[in-house]
Amino acid sequence: MTFRDWRRRALSSVMIGLSMAAVLAALIPVALILFFVLAKGIGSINWAFFTHMPAPVGEVGGGMANAILGSLTMVGLGALIAVPLGVIAGIYLSEFHGSTFASVVRFSADTLNGVPSIVIGVFVYAIFVLPVKHFSALAGGAALGVMMLPVITRTTEELLRLVPMALREGAYALGATRSRAMFTVVLPAALPGILTGIILALARTAGETAPLLFTSLNNQFWSTSLNKPMASLTVQVYTYATSPSEDWHRQAWAGALVLVMIVLVCSLAARFATRRLERMHTGH
């Protein structure tokens, strides 16, 4: 082996080592968060946590049934608004990506994506809460929907544009119209990625506290009314974590753990659901 070969191999090893170190460094925060949430939260997770209301001040025990339902409800509401709007807007952006209006929409979406979540909370407060003079789950869902919208729009656009032109041409060559080609070939081809993007957007907003503080507020009681204030895991965790009670701290960790678990389960479910579509892409 000549010196040049030796140097090449040595350099390669060093670079692989550095890459692995970088990956590890990036994984450390994730691992630590999961570890802490699990270690601190698992002790307070029991059946009652999922089925009971928060205990009155001074009493030990209770659960977060209302907050779990609240978080799911409001993320669901947000998705109901943002998924159809976002996907359709994304289709528009990819189909007419050269037009001036598309540039304006794209720029707006990117700007909206950069707006701090607390500002979105205040904005929804101004248009949904102030006029009716009470907080509501509807307003909370709307705030989460506004958070999701730009992410879903841009993910949809990017993934649709990644679909090879050859697939469109294949559809056109068989007598498909532009919209037929979009909905029967291009969109299904991009669907696994779009679904992953939607799940990521949902997961990210499920962990938002700020937009809910001014919109759905919180609720110590079981409430399914969309027109009333609603509890959410994040606001409940925030309230408990900043209180002086030891028992509430434990509950806050448990709440955080449940939140992480919901996000994880949703992501896995989405992956599972798109497996058949993925298989059509890779062939095995």
Partner: protein
């Protein structure tokens, strides 16, 4: 004459890609387009089913007639036209769906068949493309699981399913190994009984083997067109002779 082209000019924006093409292609014959890369043969092929319509800035002058009807007349519906003029692309482009769904696609979107009739027509199309025996037991597997040659025959089956009259093939075997290529060529020979076939190829031996008539393109112009045997044995033009003897291109 199945296809009659008169004084066709084609532009990509300001760039002229085809100049004054006039040519006639007979029904149930295979016409091959040959010429060096960038000579306009693929562009010309794509004017025959208005596939260039989707390219921004593309513009056509002159007339292209199939059975006497002008493709570029204002009343012509490009979507209906493409059902009549099928196309197979250089790189096989099966949809990310099952083998069955790929062939059924055109039948479904055009409302041509459903249920058992659909299944029968899918089978007939796969048989016509000489693929049935290889896939009959795994129709619901992903099309992407097929080999390159099988994928290309699947694309042929998909094109045949909507019962076109003309089949355009844009270098259908250029990405395939010699055995897969031979199967495609044999298929072309069988298919010409029922279809008018136009094939672009940069492989001159292939043009000589499969075609009845050959057109030689150079720099966006049709240099020479005639029956394949005479094109290869006694070309009239010096350029044609230089190209087929491998002096350039």
């Amino acid at each position: 004459m199945k296809i009659t082209v008169e004084h066709l000019n084609f532009y990509y924006g300001a760039k002229k890609a085809l100049t004054d093409i006039s040519i006639e292609m007979k029904a149930n014959e295979v016409t091959a387009f040959i010429g060096p890369s960038g000579c306009g043969k693929s562009t010309f092929l794509r004017t025959l089913n208005r596939m260039n319509d989707i390219i921004p800035g593309a513009r056509v002058e002159g007339s292209v007639k199939i059975d006497g009807a002008d493709l570029y007349a204002s009343g012509t519906d490009a979507v209906l036209l493409r059902r009549k003029v099928g196309m197979v692309f250089q790189k096989s482009n099966p949809f990310p769906k099952s083998i069955f769904e790929n062939v059924a696609y055109g039948l479904r979107i055009n409302g041509m068949a459903k249920g058992r009739e659909l299944a029968e027509q899918v089978e007939a199309s796969l048989k016509a493309a000489a693929l049935w025996e290889e896939v009959k037991d795994r129709l619901h597997d992903p099309a992407m699981a097929l080999s390159g040659g099988q994928q290309q025959r699947l694309c042929i089956a998909r094109a045949l399913a909507v019962r076109p009259e003309v089949l355009l093939m844009d270098e259908p075997a250029s990405a395939l190994d010699p055995i897969a290529t031979q199967r495609i060529e044999e298929l072309i020979y069988v298919l010409k009984k029922d279809y008018t076939i136009v094939i672009v190829t940069h492989n001159m031996q292939q043009a000589a083997r499969v075609s009845d008539a050959t057109a030689f393109f150079w720099m966006g112009k049709l240099i020479e067109f005639g029956p394949t045997p005479s094109m290869f044995t006694g070309p009239r033009e010096k350029l044609t002779e230089d190209y087929i003897t491998g002096r350039f291109g």
